[in-house]
Point group: C2
Chain length 224, copies 2
Amino acid sequence: MGEKPSLPPYAIARQGKRAVYDREAIHGILDVGLVAHVGFLAGEEGSIRPMVMPMAYARDGETLYIHGAASTRMIRNIDEGAPLCLTVTHVDGIVAARSSFNHSMNYRCAVVHGIARAVTDPDEQKRALALITEHLLPGRMEEVRDHLPRELAATGVLAVSIDAASAKIRNAPPAEARPEDYELQVWGGVVPVVTGLGQPLDDGRLAPGTKLPLSLAAARQKFS
Amino acid sequence: MGEKPSLPPYAIARQGKRAVYDREAIHGILDVGLVAHVGFLAGEEGSIRPMVMPMAYARDGETLYIHGAASTRMIRNIDEGAPLCLTVTHVDGIVAARSSFNHSMNYRCAVVHGIARAVTDPDEQKRALALITEHLLPGRMEEVRDHLPRELAATGVLAVSIDAASAKIRNAPPAEARPEDYELQVWGGVVPVVTGLGQPLDDGRLAPGTKLPLSLAAARQKFS
């Protein structure tokens, strides 16, 4: 799948035939991702290394929010101004070619670069946490109880402004190297990779009369 | 989902109830991933930033292999000795709690730290490329034509020794904050996230008599 040179904000690199462009396309990739892989710098001066962790997230306009226990190292140690990279990838298919070399994957990937900002305003914190919950389960905030003060105190939120973003999309059959490759009796095509939500499984501790909430149906629609 | 402090090789952090341990568990997570999110350092001295890209990969014992067009920046610019982080995540479920705060995800995640080594030995290069193809489509190398010399020349392969690895697994129902939360008429449980392979779609250019190959069935078994 490889790597793209850094691009101006909202550039899209195209591979395959049905690529789409523009800011809305990148937002579209971000808005239906389950997790972002968040890259940050770890280690000491002189021995900096990259660290990549999957995290829940949400987008609010040109800002992405991530959160974690206030006690975890990432939330504690990412300074104001630390550079972050958030990558959201949807794998759509395995591309089987007639040669090993031309095997590939169909996918949609958005890469966001930005600077971390610790969210300290209580209203922004609550809004960000609500957005992260609703990113996975649309409408969920109307169904759950309010935050407890101790819960808000235990949660660190980082905001990342989208300073630059790029997307890479491949959505095509295999591209064989030579016309004669198509004469080989070797199967070529795409095996779709399908991600969706299964039947909700309650925890066996529902209060009497509790029904399946609307947010689960909304999530199944969003992620299927 | 948050972040774990750096851990000795093959530590596993536990969240939830059915976590498993040891090196085999981490290998197990790596061996059934479709892509790794590869973190590396980009930018100039003094303005280093993290970059995270999804890449195909394969494991061979204590080594991970990744590849890309020899012309791409990542393959060209990652020096011998560059630190890399490869993270493979399986999202297994959305955990819906009775409070926003206790929403979570069920997932299995392996994080590998290692040092990049450019693969220059032709035999190791061929072996690595075969492993990457077979990681997605087991048995595929017996079905496809041989590499062309120009294809090998166009492909850069990096080896990453697993210098340290950790895993984090959550596989549990929601953990509510207070006993009285279970008295609320709010649904609590897990919405499974299911990933699998769909029906293979050929590219419409099969040579007469071409059959569905065994590798596709092996892949469906592996990734479903």
